[in-house]
Amino acid sequence: MEKREVLFRIRRFNPKRDEKPYYQEYRLTVPKGMTVLEALQQIKDTQDPTLAFRAFCRSAICGSCAVKVNGFPKLACKTQVFNELDKFGTDTLTLEPLDNMDVIRDLIVDWDRPFKRMEEMKPWLVPDPEVVPKTLDEESRVYPRELKKFDQFTDCILCTSCYSSCTATQLDDGYGGPFQLARVYRFAVDPRDALKAERSKIGYAFDMWNCVRCNKCADVCPKHVSPVDGIMKLRGLSIEVGLKDNPGARHVMAFYKSLLESGMLNEVLLPLRTKGVKGVLENLPVGIKMILKGKAHSPVMKPIAEHETLVKVMKVAMEVE
């Protein structure tokens, strides 16, 4: 059985005692197949009982043990040490607490804020009396294709990996957060829910248009949920319920219009279509520079070849359920 000598650099911090975080090094002989969590526990058992980390189910379902491994959020329990070493071509693993949250001690972060935020966004079903039966003698009918719309989002284990890596969360205090917004979407398309697409207004109030689509949430999710997809679709619902007069929604409509007109994006008209005269003025200095550099196309665009097939598929796609 293959074994390797591994150096674990672990970020330690006890806010009650330490002025600032520091890294402590531990050496461990790691056999093939050993997970980061097993390594942490072995360090705790044999080298340093004071090392603090959370763990519970150790089978990737409870969401307790997410930590950063060489900079990226991972469930310690399902992450094999060798895989990470190979990925980074190293024999050192740096373990740190998740980002965007305060540290309570060592690898343990304070979850109160992201959970509180989720709670503010009404993450619960409000039964629709038209769909959910009044008595317990009957089930609501939910068809498999309806379930499919929100099923992946119910896989979320609230490990906060996505929240830790989220770009918008880092910069915008008012932002709802990836798993939180995805859960809003999950209910918005549950046929049993009374609020339905109206829930997108919650997303709007929590800055859903500020998602930068960096796709980190989708990339780090240990359960393969793609919160960003939920956020994009929640935006769509907001347009459906009439939240159209905002840059995000107008930007979407500008694309749609461009595709119908010529099949290609009309970049020249985009500022006007997205933000009106304000958009033009805000971007005027850059716009002028670009025109001078010969980077602007004519506002009137020639349609692509077989444009009619594009228009056809778009129209048909809009009609289908």
Binding site: V212, K216, L265, G279, K295, A305, V313
Partner: protein, 285 residues
């Protein structure tokens, strides 16, 4: 030699025509045949998903279907186009029911998605076709002494489950190319961070701040210039550079090259052909 259906995307056809010019010049020099299909439409940059997923999938399945008709893999020079096309392919290849639904839509226009061609980024193709060594051999003007910041941004690496060319946590494709060109890749802490382009309209300050932070990191790392495989990142980093730097309380000039521009220089292509004069932040070669 290799032949591809060339999908330049709207940016390269519009505000970033220097990307189009440099890509075509580099491909020609390397003997990669790029066939631009006139039927290709805008991919929707992901925002079509915000209208309706079916529209997003149908539009992009249509794009791929035209390439399938030619029997050519698609190559694109825009990271967002790449992700949008790849995502369509990923969903349709892994979900029979969905593929059936989308094909019902396509059939109305006499088209069919079959899943027979792949979608690649231009710089992946460079590595696949030539490898680091092969590329090195093609270099006539090595960029010796140049420190280049390899700025990946988001959509060529994330999510790895869909893109799959390299690890999203430790990608090396840009570093390999930079090295092959004789330059030195600096280690950028923010090479995988977002430029904020896709939130530019709703949240311009946040978008500019992200770009500003990235530029600052490039400066801090001692880079002479920054290179990116994405014209949208380029737009924020280059065209909007002064505004972005203002957001982080800085002001300096950091040249930003489209990856094919950087490659083109090392291949000895003249700067004009690479459209370098179109870059907003001047590039002194």
């Amino acid at each position: 030699m290799a032949k591809f259906a060339f999908y330049p995307g709207c940016a390269a056809k519009g505000a970033s025509k220097e990307l189009y010019e440099s890509t075509v010049a580099v491909a020609e020099k390397l003997g990669i045949e790029l066939v631009e299909l006139p039927q290709f439409s805008c991919c929707g940059a992901g925002v079509l998903e915000e209208i309706k997923e079916a529209v997003d999938l149908a539009v992009n399945a249509r794009n791929i279907a035209y390439a399938e008709r030619e029997g050519l893999d698609i190559v694109t020079v825009c990271s967002t186009c790449l992700l949008v096309l790849k995502r369509t392919k990923y969903l349709l290849d892994n979900d029979e029911d969905l593929r059936k639904e989308v094909n019902e839509i396509l059939s109305e226009a006499g088209l069919e998605y079959r899943g027979t061609v792949d979608v690649k980024h231009f710089h992946w193709v460079l590595l696949e076709e030539f490898g680091e060594e092969g590329l090195k051999e093609k270099v006539v003007k090595p960029l010796t002494g140049f420190k280049v910041y390899p700025y990946y941004g988001c959509h060529t690496v994330r999510p790895e489950s869909i893109l799959g060319f390299e690890s999203s946590e430790n990608p090396q494709s840009l570093e390999k190319i930079i090295k092959a060109l004789g330059a030195e890749p600096v280690s950028g802490e923010r090479r995988l961070e977002c430029c904020g382009f896709h939130a530019f309209w709703p949240a311009p300050r946040m978008s500019m701040k992200l770009t500003g932070l990235n530029l600052l990191d490039a400066k801090k790392s001692g880079a002479n210039c920054l290179t990116t495989p994405c014209p949208l990142c380029h737009m924020n980093l280059d065209a909007n550079q002064s505004r972005a730097l203002k957001e982080v309380g800085e002001s300096f000039k950091m040249p930003v090259l489209h990856l094919p521009q950087l490659v083109g220089l090392a291949l000895g292509i003249e700067p004009k052909k690479l459209g370098l004069h179109r870059n907003i932040v001047p590039v002194n070669c």
